[in-house]
Amino acid sequence: MSFQDIEAGRPFGSRRGLMNGKQDPTQAVAAGIFQINTAVSTFQRLVNTLGTPKDTLDLREKLHKTRLHIGQLVKDTSAKLKQASDIDHHAEVNASKKIADAKLAKDFQAVLKEFQKAQRLAAERETAYTPFVPQAVLPSSYTASEVDVGSDKSPEQRALLVESRRQEVLFLDNEIAFNEAIIEEREQGIQEIQQQIGEVNEIFKDLAVLVHEQGAMIDDIGSNIENSHAATAQAKSQLSKASKTQRSNSSLTCLLLVIFGIVLLIVIIVLAA
């Protein structure tokens, strides 16, 4: 390698300059991808908290800030990756470095996909659930009340709050059980309807098969009748010819009888004379 460089006649100064310029974008891209990975993990952990009792307005705010932060990191890393790609195209560098840059680009795309997936999940859960605003408001009002009245009533207030929350949870569980029972019963009815529709489908298929077979029978009947019609027509023509021949036979028979009569008459006259 070094001999080839000497033979090419390239100066060492430009070589070192290229190496110095080359390393900064690549390492910057690697560092950026690492930071995006960390931020996306944090984002996913926050998304998993949505829909739980910990879901508060503060959590939503933190989620929003994390999303913006990841967007900024993605923008910076994308610019650095483009810079590294330009250097790869313009300058002739080692193949191993090209492979390393390609790997970094692939990692970057994988991280982006993961972030988009987490973002979609966050959007779904943000619309499906609402943060526990009353829970945040009540303790503050109770705290103010406690501060005003004194410290002797705080255990009582706290016990009442816990009891109210427990009853609310029981009520919700009861409603959920009731709705699940109704849904299960409705599903059972719909299953029965589906089964009946399946049976009707089978009946329609059987009917189609029967009608198709009977179509073949009707074709047979049609061909039989057509053959009978043709044979009858031929027989009719044969009988017509026979009728003509019969008429000719009658004429010939009469003629023969007349001739015999005349001959007989002449013979009688000759014998009488």
Partner: protein, 219 residues
Amino acid sequence: MGILYALVGRGSVVLAEFSGTTTNASAIARQILEKTPGNNDMHVSYSQDRYIFHVKRTDGLTVLCMADDTAGRRIPFAFLEDIHQKFVRTYGRAVHSAQPYGMNEEFSRILSQQMEYYSSDPNADRINRLKGEMSQVRNVMIENIDKVLDRGDRLELLVDKTANMQGNTFRFRKQARRFRSTVWWRNVKLTIALIVVLLVIVYVVLAFVCHGPALPSCF
């Protein structure tokens, strides 16, 4: 089968009730009213022997019914919803200050009608109505299958008959052709006979004219 007892109450006060059979449902219903304190909305079902008591409370008004365990939950709770709406629409805000059994004389008849409707009429539930319609469609299709099978049998008979007719017409054609041939040959025979007779007559006449059987004078 179906809903056997219904009751409308406020708190633990019974405003109207109706019982389709002679059971102790009334006593059990009162126990349930007393055992469910509070004013919050709820849906709940209690089972006792083979009957289930369905309770629905909305806006402080409690509607309760006892149903067979085969009736499920969808129809009884639809019944409770319907009774609640009818009751509120009929009496309005008066339910909060009514006396015990204050509406029983009028509303028990409505309870009876609705119990009969939700117990017997399949149209009370959309799924049951759809089930009934699908059963009708299936029955009609089964009848169609039977009719098509009968048609198939008759078509088979018709195939046999037309096959026989085809055979008969083929035989008819053969016999007609044979008859024509017979008549033609008879015609040929008569023609030949006529020619022979004419030749004999000519010979006899020539024999007389030429003075001998060997015709010596003419040749």
